[in-house]
């Protein structure tokens, strides 16, 4: 099952990340996972939150450019080689990862990782075939 990531355009200016986080915090939206991709003049903040529809509306109403992206949250054993084993499945099956990042909090004894794939549907089929468990939207909301 795909989950929804929110991407936000941010200029490299003091306080912009704070602005986003305080806006979400003040409106009771909880950030589950987060990463920032940056260039010399701007960055893209990528977050997974508990209430994504409400969060995007909030961000857009406050003048941010924010989009939805389908991503997949994968449970990876939190042991040496855990991530490598999952990545090997992708590599063997020609699944291209655009980018990935970790969750802020852990889910039981597994680590949670967010993957943005070139082709999300194909990636999901490969994951299912190899019995790699993915996290549902309901689980994200309840984390």
């Amino acid at each position: 099952m795909k989950i929804t990531q929110i991407s936000v355009f941010l200029e490299n200016r003091k306080g912009r990340l704070y602005d986003v986080c305080s806006l979400l915090g003040a409106n009771n939206v909880n950030i589950r996972a987060l990463t920032i991709a940056e260039t010399e003049s701007f960055g893209v903040l990528r977050i997974v939150v508990d209430k994504c529809d409400a969060a995007v509306k909030l961000l857009r109403d406050n003048g941010f450019v924010a989009n939805f992206t389908d991503v997949v949250a994968v449970e990876v054993p939190d042991t040496p080689g855990g991530l490598a084993a999952v990545l090997k499945v992708f590599a063997d099956n020609d699944v291209n990862v655009e980018y990935m990042y970790g969750f802020v909090e852990k889910h039981s004894d597994k680590a949670l990782l967010v993957f943005r794939f070139e082709d999300t549907d194909v990636a999901q089929q490969v994951l299912a075939r190899h019995s790699i468990s993915i996290v549902t939207r309901q689980e994200i909301e309840g984390l």
Binding site: Q5, S7, F9, L10, E11, R16, A37, E38, T39, S41, F42, V44, R46, R60, G63, F64, V65, A66, N67, T69, E98, Y99, R116
Partner: protein
């Protein structure tokens, strides 16, 4: 030395008679050869044979940059194309470029007025000139070339750019006259110092600088940097290219060659002539051009004019340096830039036009830098940096293609571009010219 002393120092009665004579021939010539102008003249109720003196010019309709664009390519030509010897193209405000064409006689005229320019600046036959204006579709390089050829100067046609080579050539051939944009003159002086060359210890006599607005403080800077006399040349490709007006050694206004390029200074709102000495829009009629003669062309440049005799002996009217524009055009590295050109590119890329702003700055090294800020919108935002960088690069390349000037494109957040009464401010010019 005054190149055409008889004309350049003519008394006002004689000059007026000469101008009247030219206008009496010009209007019937245009009327019978250019259907677009025939329609304009008919609409203004001007019979081609009704011109009696230069004072009748006030009855004639204006010509604008939009007319040139609307009738691209040949609509405003009075001469047939087989008589055209050379064409030059500059980028227009939107879409169509501005095309100008010269007959053989027009090229002779260009050589003549540019020889007057060089003499007016203080050049003498036998001098060597380094022409570091761009050669090609830009009129700067070839205009200077024709004038220097007419005058009998030794020409080093370096064109613009390749600064290290320019400086090597300067050292080897010791030119006394330099022609280039004023900002490039300052840039070359900086580069010279970096290469261990003292630019003040040279062979220089005079610089003839133009194609972009510059101030008295910049003049002092150039004169100190190169130890030369820095003079201002004025022109625009629609009229001839460089060669419309030039400062003499007294640097007290630019002498307009008014026997061939008749100037008027008008209030751009009322279209009425302003009193002598007051600021207004410079309007020029090309009294003797054949290829694409223009009647009362609105230059959009704001100047003031005076009509008294100069200490150099010339009687021609003198215009001030350009004090501003009536439109939103800016000049960057000698190239005319209109915000509408950038707008056009953005519409082409994204279907509708995002908010944008052009920031022009001249940093320590004296070269203009253009940054185009584009507000990111929902519909072209991507979570992938790669896509955003590709978009930015595409915008940059297309703007560069249209303007022929390198730009930097920066994506910014929505609503960050300053707006006044809902409209975004399109140009921020940080240069102190």
């Amino acid at each position: 030395m005054i190149w055409k002393e008889q004309i350049e120092c003519m008394d006002s009665t004689g000059l007026k008679a000469l101008q009247s004579d030219h206008l009496k021939k010009l209007i019937p010539y245009i009327y019978h050869n250019c259907p677009v102008y025939r329609e304009k003249l008919d609409a203004a109720g001007v019979a081609p044979g009704s011109i009696e003196s230069i004072d009748d010019i006030k009855r004639l309709p204006f010509t604008t940059k939009e007319d040139m664009r609307d009738h691209y390519p040949y609509g405003l030509f009075s001469a047939p194309q087989y008589q055209i010897n050379e064409i030059h193209v500059s980028s227009g405000t939107t879409g169509n470029p501005t095309l100008v064409g010269y007959t053989r006689d027009d090229l002779k005229l260009w050589g003549d007025v540019m020889a007057r320019v060089l003499c007016c600046a203080g050049a003498e036959p036998g001098d060597t000139i380094q022409i570091a204006y761009g050669y090609g579709l830009f009129t700067g390089g070839l205009g200077f070339h024709y004038g220097a050829l007419e005058m009998g100067l030794r020409i080093i046609p370096t064109s613009a750019g390749q600064t290290a080579r320019q400086l090597k050539i300067m050292q080897d051939f010791q030119p006394r006259i330099l022609g280039c944009t004023p900002s490039y003159a300052l840039y070359m002086a900086e580069e010279a110092k970096e290469m261990g060359i003292d630019p003040t210890q040279g062979h220089w006599k005079i610089g003839v600088f133009g194609a972009e607005p510059w101030s008295e403080s910049m003049r002092r800077e150039i004169e100190a940097a190169w130890n030369m006399l820095a003079t201002d040349v004025y022109g625009l490709s629609e009229i001839i290219g460089p060669g419309v007006a030039q400062e003499c050694q007294h640097k007290d206004g630019l002498h307009v060659f008014s026997d061939v390029f008749y100037p008027e200074i008008i209030d751009p709102e009322t279209d009425e002539e302003v009193p002598e000495g007051q600021d207004g829009e410079l309007v020029i009629t090309t009294l003797t051009k054949q290829g694409i003669p223009l009647i009362r062309y609105r230059t959009r440049d704001i100047v003031s004019a005076r009509y008294d005799k100069c200490r150099c002996g010339r009687t021609s009217p003198r215009i001030s340096k350009i004090k501003g524009r009536t439109d939103d055009m800016i000049v960057v590295r000698g190239i005319n830039v209109f915000p509408s050109q950038i707008e056009h590119v953005l519409v082409g890329i994204e279907g509708t036009q995002p908010q944008y702003q052009i920031v022009v700055d001249r940093k320590a090294h004296h070269l203009d830098e253009v940054e185009v800020l584009v507000e990111v919108e929902q519909r072209f935002f991507s979570d992938e940096i790669r896509h955003l960088n590709e978009l930015r690069e595409r915008i940059r390349k297309e703007i560069q293609n249209v303007l022929s000037v390198g730009v930097k494109v920066t994506l910014v957040e929505p609503k960050t571009i300053e707006r006044s009464v809902g409209k975004a401010k399109r140009i921020v010019d940080k240069r102190t010219l």
